[in-house]
């Protein structure tokens, strides 16, 4: 089996599919952040609402991806995008909601109550408290949620090749139908490498973005 040979022979296509994979996942993550982080913050105001929102996201994530594509097909067909990148990205956005909302909610919720109390008492508006205290303190945990979502999405995006979304899943799908083992393994390896790379990058980002005062505190506790 000569996977390396296959990769070397198909350099251009590998790069193109990897790039396609990255941007599907990135776009999905970007949209997911825009939706999930505000939801995670807003629901901290009401425990009951928070519980049902998180439960809904919990249910979403248990739907198998193939089934979700199936559900989205008739719905998105209404706007002429039953197949391709639109349903793929939609599915990824939905799957990302649980880790993003849950982590955002938990992180904001875990900001020590005396800090919130002090902020209110000093006359900081809710927005100001969020911007200057709660979000900076919550950000490491929020990024951890994004990291989970990103890695998960890389895997699910590979399956989206079956609905014509493109990306590295194409190698796997094509390889299976042509019984081309090298192609399947090459696809799997590239997806895995991408996942590892993104995971590492996000870990680094998490560390960079943690406020310095919090880092010093963690070091002292060790």
């Amino acid at each position: 089996m000569d996977v390396w040979q296959f990769l070397a022979d198909n350099k251009k296509r590998c790069l193109a599919l990897t790039w396609e994979h990255i941007w599907i996942v990135s776009l999905a993550l970007f949209i997911a952040i825009l939706i999930g982080v505000p939801i995670g913050i807003v629901i901290t105001r009401n425990k009951k609402v928070a519980q049902s929102v998180i439960n809904t996201a919990n249910v979403l994530i248990t739907i198998p991806s193939i089934a979700l594509f199936g559900i989205l097909l008739p719905i998105l067909s209404l706007i002429g995008h039953g197949l391709g990148k639109v349903p793929a990205i939609t599915a990824l956005v939905l799957y990302s909601q649980l880790p993003i909302i849950r982590n955002t909610y938990t992180a904001i919720q875990n900001v020590p109550s005396e800090l919130v109390e002090a902020g209110r008492g000093l006359g900081m508006s809710r927005w100001r408290r969020l911007k200057e205290v709660e979000i900076p303190l919550a950000i490491p945990v929020i990024i951890a949620g994004l990291r989970t979502a990103a890695v998960m999405n890389i895997g699910i995006a590979a399956i989206a090749a079956y609905i014509g979304a493109g990306g590295l899943g194409v190698f796997i799908q094509e390889g299976i139908s042509r019984v081309h083992q090298e192609m399947i393994v090459a696809g799997a390896i590239l997806v895995s490498l991408l996942a590892i790379l993104v995971d590492g990058t996000m870990a680094l980002l998490e560390r960079l973005i943690t406020p310095k005062g919090v880092k010093i505190g963690r070091k002292q506790n060790q």
């Binding site: 005396e114 002090a118 006359g123 900081m124 100001r128 205290v133 005062g213 919090v214 010093i216 505190g217």
Partner: protein, 377 residues
Amino acid sequence: MIQYENVTKIFGSGDKSVTAVDNVNFEVEKGELVTLLGPSGCGKTTLLRLTNRLLSLTQGKIIVDDQNIMDINRVKLRQSMGYAIQEVGLFPNKTIYGNIAIVPRLLKWDEDRIRDRVDELLTMLQLEPDTFRDRYPVELSGGQQQRIGVARCLAADPKILLMDEPFGAIDPINRVEIQDEFLRVQGKLKKTIIFVTHDLQEAIKMGDKIAIFQEGQLIQYDTPETILTNPKNEYIADFVGTDRGLKVLGLRKAKDVMVENPANLIQASTKASDALKFLQDKKLEHGTVVEKEKPIGYLTSANLEETEAPIKEIAEAYPKLITPYDNLKDVMSVMLMYDIRVLCVVDEDNNMAGTISLEDIQKSIMKIYSGTGEDKH
């Protein structure tokens, strides 16, 4: 000035409602530090939090400098009052500078002015600005953090400070130190302060006045001395404790009980035999020897018997000279420590101001216990 008029706060509704503050009326004068005292759950913290609208009133009015607080924007109101809490609540993601700068930044001060103000406050609280400005809260000790908490609440120079057990989270030794420091600062700044505490000692030490609460009601509002000497009822007498006599001693100054023209003065030029006769005639045990208004020591009959030496040489020096502003507790400690019943009080120029005896102090305690609200002896 802060006026509380029929202030009531009820949490919950119907059967489950709890009256946390029950029809409270009192006034806090400008420049005064009032301590709110009582066991936990007595409503003191609730009252504090009503003042800057962290909680909303059920009934009544709170008027700050002739303005009803309900007519002031909530956030503006809070910015106009300093706020400090027991847990301090410094923001861990901000440096000391960033923490102190919170309210000035909300008020849109320019950064130069903020910088000067932060340095001024750090210096005032005896923290070296260059060392502390750029540190993070986790790098500071508990006592230092509490100081920053105080600095933060003073930052925009508010006229009113609301403090909820601001020194509650530190060990007793550091607490005394920060209390002293805060009193020194307050002596200069003259803020109007409401200070919640459950510690009687702290309430007595810090408060110009004390408001004692029980189950949401204001039971007594008076100066610490009046509360100790004249507790309004059994509850307060119990609360201030059977040792309230000793506590009053900590508040009373030597000048309050000293005898200004004592009968036992002996001029240094007097002969020993004459001095002895003087003491025996007046039935005195203790003579204070003075020379040109300055006390130089004391004599007893035993010192004078069978001697002709100049009394200036026989006189024993006082172990410690008392100033009129020393409190009676300290004076009594000196007496007990050196086994001496009479001490000499001197003014700033070390001139004789009077004498103070253990009996004088005792009498002052007796008066306290003969007041109303008698405890069980």
